[in-house]
Amino acid sequence: MAIISVQNLSKHFKVFKHHRGTLGAVRNLFSRQHTIVRAVDEISFNIQAGELVGYIGPNGAGKSTTIKMLTGLLVPTSGELLVNNLVPWKERQKYVSRVGAVFGQRTTLWWDLPVIESLSLLQYIYKIPADRFTANLKEFRDTLELDPFLDTPVRALSLGQRMRADLCAALLHDPDLLFLDEPTIGLDVVAKERIRQFIQKINRQRGTTVILTTHDLSDVEKLCQRVLIIDHGKLLFDGALNSLKERFSSKRELLVEFAEVYDEPIIDSAEISHVDGSRVSYLFSRDDISASELIGQLSAKYRIRDLEVREPEIEETIRRIYEERLLE
């Protein structure tokens, strides 16, 4: 049973034409010329309960618009959307009581209240039974290490602290579904890692379905079994990250340190990309030759001291998909 089912979902925005200059400003008053921007264009997918799905795409691709429709904040232009058997925007109050959301760019806590007061208020907002509330709060205080700043007003928190407090706030009511919109944005490496581990734990131990949008592909690499890629409002890819890598990965790299300096150590099935004395790097593609064959050929002709095979970075792959529009 799919917890999220999306069928031909679209969201179009009207953007009114803006004329420049003083005369233009007067024209703007009367002109209703506009263009339609298809922020999300006929996308379809299903997500099963318990999945941890990454939702990625460049800026302005339609990620946030999709998340806003999924959370019931935006009304779709067309298409069907059913989450937890509810139409999010139609039954807002009922719907949001079963979901949690964290937006990296803004907080859902009260800006001028101490963290603990904001969290306590959530008990009444979500009508959380007292024992559940106490148990959850205790658990999150430990795992997210909230204690040092529980009495600090939210506005005085560091970004990492705020994000932890926000994660706690989004989960106190045991939601079935958790939306994370760039939860690691602006965080340092240690803080990112902590947040990732926490997300993984929630997904595994509580079975909470997690939808995660991010610009940081290492988030996706470390957390998500499945990834959705959107660009220009269209869904480009839906599947495992590894299969994406295999399908679109650019060339692999073999770094060789020879025992002596050779003049142009050429090999047929790979091209030399860089030479630095006895160190040479070769680019080769998976379709032409395997790494072991290449190494075999090289060692037959030259004396090798050391070597290393480098897989293409996922970032590089995704960048190529965006820039070269490989999936369209």
């Binding site: 946030s64 806003k68 925007w89 807002r92 949001v96 803004r106 907080t107 859902t108 209240l113 907002i125």
Partner: protein
């Protein structure tokens, strides 16, 4: 209900901390009240009564008006609008609570602080300067109290409704300011509505504004008596029902076209 109370409490505490703003408001209210009372003294000259209001009544009217400004908050309120423009409205809509009650609870907290710190202080201050009219008898006092509560509800549900215009326009400030000027004039804040020509009075009673302030004042001053009081309170209730219903309807339409900006 528990949530309403908790939100009221938090808002109450928050507004208690705005000390500088409270003192500034207090000084302003006090100063303009003296000005307005002096104008009444000059206008009344030798007349003992105008439209059923004595000079003592008129001075009390000025004092009471100043005392109620903070409590009713009739002339400015942009908080809801601001959350629409900053996008913070997203986190409010993501919580399973009634959006109107959420804001109302906070406004009640704000009103309580302003009633205690500004309203009561202003009345006590003027009591030293002028010979004010004071209500007597339990019935009269409870009628005043009821009307004051209803006034706040009219004032709030009106402010809620007009703030919703921010769902439609990228800058609702001008629209809101226009409505706030209207309430300044038609609520009877400037002068008792009875002092205006008949046609102005008739127009004003087609609008919600008299029920925010003028009604409470007339109940306080004893201008209205017996069944007139009951009728006036009922009239307030009707306006509240109408404004709340309109607010819910407009909210539902607004949320459908809302575009939440940023991230």
């Amino acid at each position: 209900m528990r949530l309403f109370w908790e939100l009221t409490k938090i808002s109450f505490q928050r507004h208690l901390t705005y000390r500088a703003a409270t003192v500034a408001g207090l000084v302003t209210n006090f100063f303009f009240g003296i000005l307005r009372a002096s104008i009444f003294v000059a206008l009344y000259d030798l007349q003992t009564e105008v439209e059923g209001i004595t000079l003592q009544g008129a001075i009390t009217y000025a004092a009471l008006g100043q005392a109620l400004i903070g409590y009713l908050h009739m002339f400015s309120w942009f908080e809801l609008m601001n959350t629409v423009y900053t996008g913070d409205i997203a986190s409010d809509l993501l919580k399973p609570m009634n959006y109107f009650s959420f804001w109302l609870a906070q406004d009640v907290g704000r009103a309580l602080v302003n009633f205690l710190l500004r309203g009561v202080t202003v009345m006590i201050g003027y009591a030293f300067l002028f010979d004010l009219y004071w209500p007597s008898g339990l019935t009269h006092i409870s009628a005043i109290a009821t009307s004051m509560v209803l006034s706040l509800l009219v004032s709030f549900s009106w402010r809620f409704l007009i703030n919703l215009t921010s769902f439609w326009t990228p800058n609702a400030l001008g629209i809101l300011r226009f409505f706030f000027v209207l309430s300044w004039f038609f609520s009877g804040f400037l002068m008792p509505l009875r002092f205006y020509p008949d046609w102005v009075i008739r127009i004003s009673y087609l609008l919600p504004f008299p029920h925010m302030m003028n009604t409470t004042m007339e109940v306080y001053l004893g201008v209205l008596q017996g069944p007139e009081i009951v009728l006036a309170l009922l009239n307030q209730v009707l306006w509240i029902v109408g404004l709340v219903a309109a607010g819910q309807l407009v909210l539902r339409m607004g949320v459908r076209r809302l575009v939440i900006l940023g991230g």
